[in-house]
Symmetry: C2
């Protein structure tokens, strides 16, 4: 039986956080409505005040920032098991958009449920914070790529990153996985035009490094691609044992409100 979206989300948390069995169980009791979105359809819009977080069940989701001239910059990509706006639990007013890049199913988990979880299990609040830290680390790496690498390296880096993430999420291997992006969407992710992305992909193909064909990535020479990309997976925080701040046994006593 395939893993549910919640199980995938829990798997993701387990990669970096050591959770208790109660915390595990509590996460799996989360409930939310499934929603279906078609490519180019927005899931969240700027200045909205959201009251639920979007757990990606299937498909590829992107967060993007739109310029006045209509040009877009994708700031992050989310795959199955990623909660693409977990941070909205503590900051519900958003200033960006979340969109479906491919056909997508998301589970909208009410903030109320996630807040209750944080209150009952502060160890989970820490795990959520740590999860946000991973996102921030990826953001920082993208800033480095956009600011200081050429187009070829930027495309190569994205292929490496999504490979490692897909493998960690058991959605494929780092050298063969689905990435259902058009070249325009890829261009919006690496700060280029679709024309130039096309040329960069052509070069990567000619160098026998990697191919992207109809939403599927095949990396033919991982080391070569990683070298072009200057890819070092440390920033994905997948090494080392899961961490824990909270003691494993605790309970919260809530008093009457002031």
């Amino acid at each position: 039986m395939p893993r549910t979206a919640l199980q995938r989300f829990l798997d993701r948390l387990d990669l970096r956080s050591a959770l208790t069995s109660q915390e595990h169980a509590a996460v799996l009791e989360l409930r939310g409505e499934a929603h279906r979105y078609e490519p180019h359809q927005d899931i969240v819009s700027p200045d909205e005040r959201v009251d639920s977080a979007c757990l990606v069940k299937s498909g590829l989701v992107g967060r993007y920032d739109q310029m006045l001239d209509g040009e877009r910059q994708v700031t992050s990509l989310y795959i199955s098991g990623d909660m693409c706006d977990l941070h909205s639990v503590v900051a519900p007013r958003v200033s960006w958009s979340i969109t479906a890049l491919s056909p997508v199913t998301v589970i909208r988990v009410p903030h109320r449920e996630l807040r209750d979880l944080c209150i009952s299990y502060p160890g989970l609040a820490i795990a959520f914070w740590r999860d946000g830290t991973v996102d921030a680390s990826i953001f920082a790496k993208w800033i480095g790529n956009l600011g200081r690498k050429d187009g070829k390296a930027r495309v190569a880096h994205l292929l490496c990153e999504m490979g490692v993430r897909s493998q960690a999420a058991h959605l494929g291997t780092r050298t063969a996985y689905d990435l259902p992006l058009t070249q325009k969407q890829l261009a919006d992710s690496v700060g280029l035009t679709s024309v130039h992305v096309n040329r960069m992909l052509k070069e990567l193909r000619a160098d026998h490094l990697a191919t992207l064909d109809r939403g599927r990535v095949e990396i033919l020479n991982w080391d070569g691609l990683a070298l072009v990309a200057e890819f070092d997976p440390n920033y994905l925080m997948l090494q080392g044992p899961p961490q824990r701040v909270f003691p494993r046994q605790y309970s919260i006593v809530t008093h009457a409100l002031q």
Copy 2:
């Protein structure tokens, strides 16, 4: 009497999080060693496992990513009152560098103290998570700027952002504040060369929009600069009332370890 670094840090938390008086008091009881750094001196290096977080007392601190050819990209700037690696409490292994961009004093607050705070006051853990969310939001905006705006807009945007942040931190006004950066360091922050930054500053000066002279920014035409930058301060999460997830009255009971 000038505010201490801890008071400034607390001010920053208060901007977005509603804390109880106990939580306030607990933050002010944090202790750490003061360290002095000269410009270009690194405070934290990649692959280090840090055991304290750096609270900026004075000066300008930058986090940066270094490429193989030695080129740098600054991914974030931190001013007085910012805890520039608060996230290291939950993710102590870092993959980036933190450096002094000007003469700097930082207070190194041991993770142990911050962890104890999170355990005794989960409401503070939430506030820390929210603080990290602000950083992530700034990261995302920088990605948009680097990917989809030209050099002039990128420089202008940085001047706007640091103005609003300086004003929020009571370190100046949004149109007149200290930004002790060389043009090379500014270039490393906006993904340009120092030569080109020089030309962009010259243009902003010629347009009577803003000047940067010996570490001091004067914005002559805020609206004009914001227009060039497409600056919208929403992403800094300074609007709206401080948020709270945890009830105001609670206590934690910790049991024996499993």
